[in-house]
C-alpha cells in the first residue's frame, strides 16, 4: 500500500476550514501554502514542473537560428511566434548530438535521454534508456497523484519507421515506452477522472489490486528475466493506481471534460484545437498539482503530419525534402506557433504561489534532427522555456556552441543541467558517447 504523500491531509483541513467545501476554484494559492507562502503547507518546497516538447523533422537552420547570441538576442523568422514569451526562452544552437549510430530520425531522440538506441534493425529501434522526464518523475513524481503524463497532438506517425524510439517521447527503458495519449477526452480521464465523484468503492478496488499483486508474485517464479521486468512495470502501474485511489481529491475544481476528441474532419486534423486543449489540461494539472512532469509529442519524428488546417496539403515530411520549400517554412512557423501557444497559456496562468507557470516550470523542446533533408543531428536545435524558479537563466539567452555550420559540445549537457535543477545530486545522464557529466554553467539561473 502506498504511503506516498499526495495533497497532505493538513492542507485538506485548511482547505475545509477556509471554505465550505474541499473543492475551491482555481487558483489554489494560499490553501496549499504555509503561512509565509514560501513552501507547501507541509513544509516541502514549492513545486517546480518539467515538460518535454517534441516536434518532428527539424527546422531550416538559417531561418531558425538567431543572428546574435547572449541576452536580448533577435528572434529569427521561425522563432518569431515566441515573441510574447521571449524573456522566458533560451535558444541553444550549434550543439552536437553525440548519438553513436544513425537510422535517420531515430538518433535525434537521443536529445531526450543521452542514450544511443538499441535493437537496431532497418528503420527499427528501441530507446536506449530512460528519458529525462522519467528521471525527473522518479525524483519528484511521488509527490503528486500522477507521476507523469504523456500527451500527443498529431496522430499521424511515421509509417516508414518502427520500434519505440520515435513513437513515444518518454521511455523508462527499451521495453517501457510511455506512449502519448492523443485524445483530449482520455487525457482528461487520465489526469482528473479518478477525482470525479463516484460511489466510494476504494476498499474494494484496493482488494482487487491486492489480488493482482499476489497473482503477479506467483507468476514471477515461472517466467524469465525479461518478463519479470514487464511484471515489475505492471506492479508499478498497480502502485500508481493505488496512489491515485488513495489520493485525496485535489483542492481545485476539476476542469470540464473536453469535447475535443482529435478526430479528423474532411481530411483536416484539428492540430491547433487539440494542442490548445492539451495545453489547457496541462496548465490545470500543474495548477492543481495533479502532476509535475509531462511529455508532449506535438507530432511524430519524421513529421508525417499534414498541416491541412492551414491549407498546406503536402505532408510536412514531404516538404522537408526541399530546403527552399515555403510550405516547409510555413509549417515550421506553425509548429513554433503551437509551442508558443502552450508557453503563452503557461505565462497567463498562476501557480500555487502567485507566480506564473513559466516562472515555475522548465520546458525542454527539441526535434529529431537539425534539418529534414539531411537528417543531420549536428546542430540539432534546443529551446528551453521557463526558468523553474530561477534554476535556469532568466531572461533567456541565445547560446551558440559553434558557428554555423559547425557543431560542438554535447546536447546531453543541457539535459544534465535540467536534471540537476530537480535533482542536484545527479552526476550524469545517458550512456556511451552521448553521456554527459558536465552541466552547462551558461544556462544556470540564480538559484541553480
Amino acid at each position: 500500500m502506498s504511503n506516498r504523500r499526495t495533497i497532505p491531509r493538513r492542507t485538506l483541513l485548511r482547505g475545509l476550514l477556509g471554505g465550505s467545501a474541499a473543492v475551491v476554484g482555481l487558483p489554489l494559492l494560499e490553501a496549499m501554502l504555509d503561512r509565509h507562502g514560501e513552501a507547501l503547507a507541509d513544509g516541502s518546497p514549492l513545486p517546480t514542473r518539467f515538460v518535454t516538447w517534441f516536434f518532428g523533422n527539424g527546422v531550416i537552420l538559417p531561418r531558425f537560428e538567431p543572428a546574435a547570441t547572449g541576452p536580448n538576442y533577435p528572434l529569427s523568422d521561425q522563432l518569431q511566434p515566441l515573441a510574447n514569451v521571449r524573456d522566458y526562452v533560451t535558444v541553444l544552437t550549434g550543439m552536437r548530438n553525440r548519438c553513436e549510430v544513425t537510422v535517420t530520425h531515430h538518433e535525434g531522440m537521443t536529445a531526450f535521454n543521452g542514450f544511443t538506441m538499441t535493437e537496431l534493425s532497418g528503420l527499427f529501434s528501441k530507446a536506449g534508456g530512460p528519458t529525462i522526464d522519467q528521471l525527473i518523475a522518479a525524483k519528484i513524481g511521488q509527490d503528486t497523484p500522477v507521476a507523469s503524463i504523456h500527451l500527443g497532438v498529431s496522430k499521424h506517425l511515421s509509417v516508414m519507421d518502427s520500434g519505440t524510439t520515435m513513437h513515444a517521447l518518454s521511455h523508462k527503458g527499451p521495453n517501457e515506452p510511455q506512449y502519448p495519449q492523443f485524445n483530449p477526452q482520455q487525457a482528461w480521464t487520465d489526469l482528473f477522472g479518478a477525482f470525479a465523484p463516484t460511489a466510494d468503492d476504494r476498499p474494494l478496488r484496493a482488494s482487487i489490486l491486492d489480488a493482482v499483486r499476489d497473482q503477479t508474485a506467483a507468476l514471477r517464479t515461472r517466467l524469465g528475466k525479461l518478463d519479470n521486468q514487464r511484471l515489475d512495470a505492471h506492479l508499478d502501474g498497480v502502485s500508481a493506481l493505488e496512489k491515485k485511489i488513495e489520493a485525496t481529491a485535489p483542492l481545485c475544481a476539476l476542469p470540464d471534460k473536453p469535447t475535443e476528441t482529435n478526430t479528423d474532419i474532411n481530411g483536416v486534423e484539428p492540430i491547433t484545437a487539440v494542442n490548445g486543449v492539451m495545453s489547457d489540461l496541462l496548465v490545470y494539472a500543474f495548477q492543481c498539482d495533479i502532476t509535475r512532469v509531462a511529455s508532449m509529442l506535438f507530432h511524430g519524428g519524421a513529421a508525417e503530419t499534414v498541416f491541412s488546417e492551414i491549407d498546406i496539403w503536402s505532408g510536412h515530411h514531404n516538404n522537408s525534402h526541399n530546403p527552399n520549400s515555403e510550405e516547409l517554412h510555413t509549417g515550421i512557423v506553425h509548429i513554433m506557433g503551437r509551442f508558443a501557444d502552450l508557453l503563452e497559456r503557461f505565462k497567463a496562468s498562476v501557480d500555487i504561489d502567485g507566480k506564473n507557470l513559466l516562472d515555475t516550470s522548465i520546458i525542454y523542446c527539441s526535434s529529431d534532427c537539425a534539418e529534414g533533408w539531411t537528417h543531420s543531428i549536428q546542430r540539432q536545435p534546443i529551446i528551453l522555456a521557463g526558468h523553474g524558479r530561477n534554476k535556469l537563466i532568466y531572461p533567456g539567452i541565445h547560446v551558440q556552441a559553434a558557428p554555423y555550420p559547425m557543431s560542438d559540445g554535447n546536447i546531453s549537457d543541457v539535459l544534465l543541467t535540467c536534471l540537476q535543477a530537480f535533482d542536484p545530486r545527479a552526476t550524469s545522464i545517458g550512456g556511451g558517447a552521448p553521456m554527459s557529466t558536465t552541466p552547462m554553467p551558461a544556462i544556470m539561473g540564480t538559484d541553480f
Binding site: 553513436e100 528503420l123 525479461l226 483536416v268
Partner: protein, 593 residues
C-alpha cells in the same frame, strides 16, 4: 544485426543496397547470433537466439549475412550446417485488444464486449503481437485495465444471459454466496484458460463477499467486483506460455495442453478457448499432431476464424490505417470516409473470397483479374456500377493493368502521400510485407532533398526520383524500391487510373533488379506469383502475427516444412493455418525469456 555464415540458399536480395557503415554489428547484441545457436536461448531481449531477421543488411557485413528469402527455395537449406530445431523462448504475451474483446464477447456477451476499453496495442516489427510479447504496460494502461473491467462487469451484470450460459446460478432470483465460488471456478477457468487453484478461488470469493456487503447485500454488486477482479488478473491479461519438458525429449519444452488450447484459440478465433476445447485439453485429447489438426480444422469452420483472419490482414496490409488516412480534399474531393471504408472492405472481401469461399491459392490475392466494388469504388476505377448499393464481384478493366491487391485502392492510396504518389513507399510495402525483406536506413549524411522544381519545366514523379537515384549513396536501396512504384504510376494517390502526371505522359516501364521488366500492377503480380519468396513470406508473417516473434534460425527448417506443405497443397491458406497449428514452431517453446 545478425552475422551468420550459414550456407543458406537464396541470394542476398539487398546485397547491393549499401549498408549502414555506422551501425555497429556488436551494438545489437540482443539479436546477434553466432553459429552456436544450440547453446540455449540468447541472452538479450531480442526475439530469440538469432532471428533470420530482416535486419542483416544493416550490419555492413555483406558476405554471408542472412536475409529473409534465404529459405525460400522450398527447404533446400542444406549443404552445410544443419540447424537443430530450436523454438522461440517461452514467456508471457499480453492479449491484443481484439483478443481481449473477443474473449469478453465469448465470456460475457455482446453488451459487455461493447463496453470493453482495453489498453492500446503498439506494434513492433510490423505486428502488435510482437509488441505484446516484448513491451511493458505503462501506468495509464494499468488504470485502463481497471476502467475496462468495471465497464465490462457493469454490462455483464446487467445482461447475464451469456454469463448464465457458463454459470447458471447467476440467473437465479437470489443467488447465495456459493454462486461466487462457482463463478470463480467455471468462469475463472475460461477466462484464465486453466483451472483455478483453491487459494485463487478463495481470493475471488472474498472480494465478491466484501463487495456484496459493501453493496447492502446485493448479489449483483458482489458479482460485479468479482468479475472486475477476474478481468484485472494478470492471468487474464497475459497469455503465459512456458510449457513443460517433452517426456520423449526432455530438452524440448512443449506447451501444456491448456497453453496449447489457448494459443490455438487466440490464433484462429481471436479469443479465449471454449469450455469444450479446455475440457479436451485437460483430458489429454490434444496431444498428437492429428488431435491438433482436428481441433484447428473445427476452429476454422467457425465464423470467428474469418473475422480473425481479416484482423490479421488489416494489420499486415495496414488496411486499418485507412480510417484515418488523409488526402488533399481539393485534389480528391471524392476521398471520403465511406470511400476509404469501401477500399478496406474490397481487399478483405477478396481475401474472404479466396481463402474461405473458394479455398484456393492465396497468391490469387495478387493475381486476381476480378474484384469486389460498390458504386463509389466502381466510379473510382472507371468500372460500370454494380446494381444496388452493395458490393458485387466484377472483372477488372484489362487496359488499366490492375491485378489483385496491387491494383486495389486500399494499397495504392495507403502508400501514397496526401497529394502525390510515393513509388518509394509502394515499393517498400512490396519488399517488406510481400517479400519479407528489410530496407536498410539511408546512409548517414545523405542529402535527401529532391531536385528543385522549376514551374516552367514540370517533371513527373518518376523523373524526379530517377534523378535522385543517380546519387550512388541513394541508388543502392532506392533501385530496389522505386522501380516497383514506377510501374504503379498509372494509379494516382487515391488509386484512380491516370495517364498524366504534372501534365506529362506517364511512362510506367521499370526494371526490377531481381524480378524483371514491368509496366503495371498486373506485371508485378505475375512475377510475384512465381516467386517462392512470396510463399516463404506469408509463412513468416503468420508466425510473427500469431506467435509474436520474428522467426529464429532454429525455426528455419520447421518453416521450410510449412512452406513445402503450402506449396504441395495448392497454396491454400486454410491448409497453412492447420499445419502451422500442428507445427513444432507453434507447439514448443524455449526456456522463458
Amino acid at each position: 544485426m545478425i552475422r551468420l555464415v550459414l550456407p543458406l540458399s537464396g541470394c542476398l536480395l539487398l546485397a547491393g543496397c549499401p549498408s549502414d557503415p555506422i551501425a555497429d554489428p556488436t551494438d545489437g547484441d540482443t539479436t546477434t547470433a553466432t553459429m552456436n545457436t544450440t547453446a540455449g536461448p540468447g541472452p538479450g531481449p531480442g526475439p530469440g537466439p538469432g532471428t533470420t531477421g530482416d535486419d542483416s543488411p544493416t550490419t555492413g557485413e555483406s558476405a554471408g549475412t542472412t536475409e529473409d528469402g534465404q529459405s525460400t527455395t522450398g527447404g533446400s537449406t542444406t549443404g552445410g550446417v544443419e540447424e537443430p530445431f530450436e523454438p522461440a523462448p517461452g514467456g508471457m504475451r499480453r492479449l491484443l485488444r481484439h483478443q481481449y474483446v473477443g474473449s469478453i464477447r465469448y465470456l460475457l456477451g455482446d453488451a459487455a464486449a461493447g463496453a470493453a476499453v482495453p489498453p492500446e496495442d503498439y506494434s513492433l516489427h510490423g505486428f502488435d503481437a510482437i509488441g505484446a510479447a516484448e513491451l511493458s504496460l505503462q501506468e495509464s494502461a494499468i488504470e485502463q485495465l481497471e476502467t475496462s473491467s468495471r465497464a465490462i462487469a457493469i454490462a455483464a451484470v446487467e445482461d447475464r444471459s451469456t454469463l448464465g450460459g457458463h454459470v447458471p446460478c447467476v440467473l437465479e432470483a437470489e443467488p447465495d454466496d456459493s454462486c461466487f465460488g462457482i463463478v470463480a471456478v467455471d468462469l475463472g477457468r475460461l477466462a484464465w484458460r486453466r483451472p483455478l487453484i483453491g487459494e485463487e478461488v478463495d481470493a475471488m470469493v472474498a472480494i465478491a463477499k466484501q463487495a456484496r456487503e459493501w453493496g447492502g447485500g446485493e448479489f449483483a454488486t458482489g458479482l460485479q467486483y468479482e468479475l472486475m477482479a477476474l478481468l484485472q488478473s494478470p492471468y487474464f491479461v497475459y497469455l503465459v506460455e512456458v510449457g513443460k519438458p517433452d517426456p520423449e525429449d526432455p530438452a524440448t519444452r512443449l506447451l501444456t495442453s491448456s497453453e496449447l488450447a489457448a494459443r490455438l484459440s487466440f490464433f484462429l478465433l481471436g479469443r479465449t478457448p471454449d469450455a469444450e476445447l479446455l475440457a479436451a485439453a485437460e483430458a489429454d485429447a490434444l496431444i498428437t499432431d492429428d488431435d491438433v489438426r482436428a481441433a484447428a480444422e473445427a476452429m476454422i469452420a467457425r465464423p470467428e476464424a474469418r473475422a480473425t483472419l481479416s484482423i490479421f490482414y488489416s494489420e499486415l496490409f495496414q488496411l486499418r490505417d485507412l480510417a484515418t488516412l488523409n488526402k488533399n480534399n481539393q485534389l480528391f474531393p471524392q476521398f471520403t470516409h465511406e470511400l476509404a471504408y469501401a477500399m478496406k472492405y474490397e481487399t478483405l472481401r477478396l481475401i474472404e473470397d479466396i481463402v474461405w469461399d473458394q479455398d484456393t491459392d492465396f497468391r490469387t490475392l495478387l493475381s486476381a483479374d476480378y474484384t469486389f466494388v460498390n458504386p463509389a469504388l466502381a466510379s473510382l476505377y472507371g468500372l460500370p456500377p454494380p446494381r444496388g448499393q452493395g458490393f458485387a464481384k466484377v472483372p477488372l478493366e484489362e487496359d488499366h493493368g490492375r491485378a489483385g491487391l496491387l491494383g486495389q485502392a486500399s494499397f495504392l492510396a495507403r502508400f501514397a502521400h496526401p497529394a502525390e504518389t510515393s513509388p518509394t513507399r509502394r515499393g517498400q510495402f512490396i519488399r517488406t510485407k510481400l517479400l519479407c525483406e528489410t530496407v536498410p536506413p539511408p546512409p548517414p549524411g545523405v542529402d535527401a532533398s529532391l531536385p528543385p522544381e522549376s514551374p516552367n519545366e514540370p517533371q513527373t514523379m518518376k523523373q524526379k526520383l530517377v534523378q535522385h537515384m543517380e546519387d550512388p549513396s541513394c541508388n543502392g536501396c532506392h533501385v530496389q524500391l522505386d522501380p516497383l512504384g514506377f510501374a504503379l504510376e498509372n494509379y494516382d494517390p487515391i488509386g484512380a487510373y491516370r495517364t498524366l502526371d504534372s501534365g506529362l505522359p506517364i511512362d510506367p516501364s521499370a526494371t526490377i533488379p531481381d524480378l524483371g521488366e514491368v509496366f503495371s500492377a498486373r506485371d508485378i503480380a505475375d512475377l510475384l506469383v512465381e516467386d517462392p519468396r512470396v510463399t516463404a513470406c506469408i509463412v513468416k508473417n503468420f508466425v510473427r502475427g500469431a506467435l509474436g516473434h520474428r522467426e529464429g534460425l532454429g525455426e528455419i527448417h520447421a518453416l521450410d516444412d510449412l512452406e513445402a506443405e503450402l506449396e504441395s497443397n495448392d497454396h491454400r491458406l486454410q491448409h497453412l493455418l492447420v499445419e502451422l497449428a500442428a507445427s513444432p514452431v507453434f507447439r514448443a517453446v524455449g526456456a522463458p525469456k
